[in-house]
């Protein structure tokens, strides 16, 4: 929990601090085991991981856990407060069960947090490694294009892209993926820079390995781990950004719920039924927090510089 320099909230990663991590990629398996144990020793990260698993399971088994579907409404029990008989977490403005909507809505919110991060991570990894490996013109073109995307504040670009396209979950996923790619690409590019001068690359070249072999067998595996770490730390933020797009009406469309859209729905009855707004936001907060803990935990476990207290 101490290393400060790669916080998910920073708008630009600081690849310089990541390089040392990639330097020790390709370590013997024994050391990997140590990392897992180290992660497990981080109690906060472990608790967060367990919490997220619980949430994920709950969301997947929403039909089992909830007596209602998210769209079915009790027209006579609208805006029911928490603790109402039959509606543990109350109902919303349309008389729909809050628990059901939170569970089903969590599916979309988690997908929007996780999928773009993974997709952007893979695309960014590929672009960054290619740029760092081949250098030259390709490198210049890729990195200059990414610079342009960096010139926008992340949320602005996501809003602008989603706003120009038709609203929907796919739009939301595409918008977030596009704004994330440069962050991953720059990270992967710097990490590749760190790997290229390594003796084992030299050795592989000397042994007559093709570019493709070197790329896939030696470079990619070593760049992979910082990208994974970064992806984990970003997921928390992306849940927040994704819910922001939904809040603005650029994401899921009714009657489908996600947590951001639920916050927006609740505004109309903020005074009358505050729980409709407060509950989904609280969930976004806790899940984003959990992702951040896990991200920190993984980073600490992978980073030998971390001093444990």
């Amino acid at each position: 929990m101490t290393a400060p320099d790669l916080h998910p909230h920073t708008d630009r990663p600081r690849p310089a601090s990541v390089t040392p991590m990639s330097l020790q990629g390709g370590v013997p398996p024994a050391q990997r085991a140590w990392r897992l144990k180290s992660f497990a020793r981080d109690r906060a990260a472990l608790a967060a991981a367990i919490f997220l698993v619980v949430i994920a399971v709950a969301v997947v088994f929403a039909p089992v856990l909830s007596a209602y579907t998210p769209d079915e409404a009790d027209n006579l029990a609208r805006n029911a407060p928490m603790g109402t008989a039959g509606h543990l977490l109350g109902t919303d403005q349309q008389g729909r069960d809050m628990l059901a909507r939170l569970l089903y809505g969590g599916r979309v919110s988690l997908i929007v947090g996780v999928v773009p991060t993974i997709v952007a991570g893979l695309i960014g990894l590929l672009l960054g490694v290619l740029a760092g490996f081949f250098r030259g013109l390709a490198d210049q073109i890729i990195m200059r294009c990414l610079d342009v995307i960096f010139a926008f504040p992340m949320v602005l670009l996501a809003i602008a892209i989603a706003g120009a396209m038709r609203p929907g979950v796919l739009t939301e996923v595409i918008a977030i993926t596009v704004v994330l790619i440069p962050y991953f690409a720059r990270l992967a590019r710097t990490a590749t820079d760190g790997v290229m001068p390594m003796p084992f690359i030299e050795a592989a070249r000397a042994a007559g390995g093709s570019s493709f072999t070197i790329l896939t067998r030696y470079v990619l595996p070593n760049v992979f781990s910082p990208v994974v770490v970064y992806a984990t730390t970003l997921m928390g933020l992306m849940i927040v950004v994704g819910s922001g797009l939904s809040f603005l009406g650029l994401g899921v469309q009714p009657p489908t719920a996600d947590w951001g859209a639920m916050v927006a729905d609740g505004r109309v009855v903020l005074r009358k039924a505050p729980h409709v707004t407060v509950l989904p936001g609280l969930l976004i907060l806790v899940v984003s927090l959990a992702f951040n803990f896990i991200g920190d935990g993984i980073r600490d476990a992978l980073d030998p510089r971390t001093i444990r207290r």
Binding site: D11, I161, P274, L285
Partner: protein, 316 residues
């Protein structure tokens, strides 16, 4: 320093060129036919065809881009589709309002972030440290639009201390106090996230420096605590902190956009939101371009401050 800045500005020109292309293309993503939007649903096909010709919408994309760029460079962003008011007249006052909110939030984030980070570091692992650190952690993970609503619920609706929205009270007598009164909740909402990150970085930065050899030596030499902090700790911990604060700018601007929507703050964010809802593409373009330009300039400013603090960076 002058050479450094000149180099940075030159380096940023192609980026701004790229930004203009992205913003131009953004509108091509938009569904719907511009002619239909402009003429209304009752327009005849012939009238639409004529308008398309007049606007050059039938020309190749590249030609359209350079025509658009030429107009933008002369300050002509067109007129708002929704209200037929020149876009520049709409955007500029909003930009000032966004600057007010962003400046206030930045100030607040720095004061809160550095204050909390500093004191938690000095009392590391105390109860105060744990409570403050957890609170900031929560604030940093909270979605800003939701945080704004919760603050409204508590401080505006329940307690009635602050107004719910807007930048001025039309029924009141205005004045600076009125503005400040309206500014508090939106600024806090926007600032809390970045403040949390700054606090966290400041805390670990100072802890890091406190653990370094020269500080331990100075301490063993019996240096006064205040002098120790001033001479050795703060200055040494500063450069990365400034960088991180600079990095918060993007987050701050992005957060301000959402905050503006929640609080109906008449800035570029709420304008952007309105223009999206109304499919007012010229306004969407102008607002996006302006925010991106401001962001690019702010980043240069941050780099310059860093270079001032650490001359080694100027050589890059």
């Amino acid at each position: 320093m002058g050479a450094f800045l000149a180099k940075r500005f030159l380096g940023v020109l192609p980026v701004i060129f790229g930004v203009s292309i992205v913003i131009f293309l953004l509108v091509q993503l938009a569904p719907g036919d511009t002619a239909t939007v402009l003429l209304g649903p009752q327009a005849t096909e012939a009238a639409k065809e004529e308008l398309r010709r007049a606007l050059g919408l039938d020309r190749p994309l590249a030609v359209q881009y350079f025509q658009w760029l030429g107009r933008v460079l002369t300050g002509d962003f067109g007129t708002s589709i929704a209200t037929q008011i020149p876009v520049l007249d709409l955007v500029l006052p909003r930009f000032v309002n966004t600057l007010i909110l962003t400046a206030a939030s930045l100030l607040l984030a720095i004061v809160l972030g550095y204050g909390i980070g500093f004191f938690t570091a000095l009392r590391a692992n105390s109860l105060f440290d744990r409570i403050a650190t957890s609170c900031m952690l929560m604030a940093g993970s909270a979605p800003p639009f939701w945080l704004g609503l919760v603050l409204v619920l508590v401080f505006a609706i329940d307690l009635g201390w602050f107004p719910v929205s807007g930048m001025e009270d039309f029924a009141g007598d205005g004045g600076t106090m009125d503005l400040l009164h309206h500014l508090v909740l939106p600024a806090v909402t926007t600032a809390l996230g970045p403040a949390a990150i700054i606090a966290r970085i400041v805390r670990s930065g100072i802890l890091d420096v406190l653990g370094r050899a020269h500080v331990r030596v100075a301490r063993s030499k019996g240096l006064q605590r205040r002098d120790l902090l001033r001479r050795h700790v703060i200055l040494n911990a500063l450069p990365p902190i400034v960088t991180i604060t600079g990095l918060q700018l993007g987050y701050l601007l992005g957060g301000a956009l959402l905050t503006e929507v929640v609080f109906a703050w008449p800035g570029l964010g709420s304008l952007l939101y309105d223009s999206i809802t109304a499919r007012d593409l010229p306004v969407l373009q102008a607002a996006t371009l302006l925010i991106a330009l401001a962001f690019v300039l702010a980043n240069i400013a941050v780099d310059a401050i860093n270079a001032m603090l650490d001359p080694r960076l100027r050589e890059i």
